[in-house]
C-alpha cells in the first residue's frame, strides 16, 4: 500500500511547515485526502496550538514516499459551501 505523509503548513517559509516523519499507509490518493480531512476536523475540535492562531489558514501538504507533492488540502475544505443543503 502507498505511504502518504501529511505535512502541516501553518505559515509561509520552511520553519512554518511541520514535516510528518511517520506517515500513513492508505490505499489511494482519495483515501489520503479523506484522511487529511479527518485530521483537520480532529485538530479543530482539539486543543489549540501556541504556534497557530487560526487553523483555517493552515493546509496539509500531502507527499508520497519519494517526497513528491501529491495534493494540498486547505483546512477551509471542511467548511460546507453556502449552497450545500446538508
Amino acid at each position: 500500500m502507498p505511504h502518504y505523509f501529511f505535512n502541516l503548513r501553518y505559515g509561509p517559509g520552511s520553519d512554518r511547515l511541520a514535516v510528518d516523519p511517520e506517515g500513513d499507509e492508505l490505499a489511494s490518493v482519495e483515501e489520503a485526502h479523506q484522511h487529511a480531512l479527518q485530521s483537520v476536523r480532529g485538530l479543530i475540535a482539539g486543543p489549540p496550538s501556541h504556534a497557530v492562531r487560526d487553523w483555517f489558514v493552515c493546509t496539509f501538504e500531502i507527499t508520497d514516499e519519494a517526497g513528491r507533492h501529491v495534493m494540498t488540502v486547505p483546512f477551509t475544505e471542511i467548511v460546507p459551501d453556502e449552497d450545500d443543503e446538508d
Binding site: 502541516l8 511541520a18 514535516v19 516523519p21 511517520e22 480532529g42 486543543p47 501556541h50 504556534a51
Partner: protein, 237 residues
C-alpha cells in the same frame, strides 16, 4: 530465588515502606519483566496482581471507538493496581498496560489486602500513595480543560523523563498522539515548537530532553504540583 531487598529497589514507594511492613511483603514479591504493550490489568476483570514498577512505564488508558487515551501514568514511583485494591474494589474499568518496557516486583492482590488489614502503617502509606495518583488524575483533568498542545506535550515528556534513567526517550508521534488524545499532526507541530525553542532534540523517534526548566515553563503550571505532593506524602519532603 533471591528475595527482593528493600533498599536496593529502585521503586520509591517500596523504599518508603516501614521495614516491619516490608518484611510482611518481602517473600511475596516476585521479580517480573514488563514487556512492551503487555497488559498488566485488564478492564472489568478481577485484579490478580499489583506491580511495584522498578523500571519502565505503565499507562492507564480509557478506550472509545475513536481509540484510546492515557488517563494515568505509573513508573518507578508507583504501584500498579493500588487504587482498586486499597479502595476495596476487585476490578477497574480501565486498561493498565506497559508503554515502556522494564521490570517490576509483582505481588498478589489478596496478599496486599491482608497485609493492609494487619498493618495500619502500611495501609496509611499505600492510601497516601493512592492520594498522589488522585492528584495526578485531577491535574490531568485540569490540563485537558485548559492547556494547549505544547504544554500538554511538555508535561508528558517531563513525566516520562522523571521515570527513566538518562535524557533519551524513544517515542513515535503516533504513540504520543494516542497518549495525549491529540491528532498526530498536532503532536508533530508541538514537537517542532519544542525543538525550535531548544527544549528538546528530536531525531528518528528519539527525543532528547535538553532543558528541563524550559519544558516546565512551556508546561505552564501543568507540571510540578502532583510531583511535589508525591515527595511530601511519600518521602516526607
Amino acid at each position: 530465588m533471591a528475595q527482593a531487598q528493600q533498599f536496593e529497589s529502585p521503586n520509591r514507594l517500596l523504599r518508603a515502606v516501614a521495614s516491619e511492613d516490608f518484611t510482611r511483603l518481602q517473600s511475596h514479591l516476585e521479580p517480573v519483566d514488563l514487556l512492551n504493550q503487555q497488559t498488566l490489568i485488564k478492564p472489568n476483570v478481577r485484579t490478580e496482581h499489583l506491580y511495584f514498577v522498578e523500571s519502565g512505564i505503565a499507562s492507564i488508558t480509557a478506550e472509545s471507538a475513536n481509540g484510546r487515551v492515557e488517563v494515568g501514568m505509573i513508573g518507578r514511583e508507583g504501584l500498579v493496581g493500588a487504587t482498586p485494591v486499597l479502595l476495596g474494589s476487585d476490578r477497574v474499568p480501565h486498561d493498565h498496560f506497559v508503554q515502556m518496557a522494564g521490570t517490576a516486583l509483582r505481588i498478589r492482590a489478596e496478599v496486599v489486602s491482608t497485609a493492609v488489614d494487619e498493618s495500619p502503617t502500611l495501609r496509611k502509606l499505600l492510601l497516601r500513595y493512592v492520594q498522589t495518583e488522585m492528584v495526578q488524575v485531577r491535574q490531568t483533568a485540569f490540563i485537558n480543560a485548559t492547556l494547549n498542545i505544547e504544554a500538554r506535550l511538555a508535561r508528558w515528556l517531563l513525566m516520562c523523563h522523571d521515570r527513566v534513567d538518562g535524557d533519551e526517550l524513544l517515542l513515535k508521534h503516533e504513540f504520543l498522539s494516542m497518549m495525549l488524545g491529540v491528532q498526530r499532526s498536532g503532536v508533530t507541530l508541538a514537537m517542532q515548537q519544542l525543538v525550535g525553542a531548544r527544549r528538546i532534540r528530536a531525531k528518528r523517534g528519539r527525543i532528547t530532553v535538553l532543558d528541563r526548566e524550559g519544558l516546565e515553563e512551556v508546561a505552564d503550571g501543568g507540571y510540578g504540583a502532583p510531583e511535589a505532593e508525591y515527595a511530601r506524602l511519600i518521602e516526607g519532603a
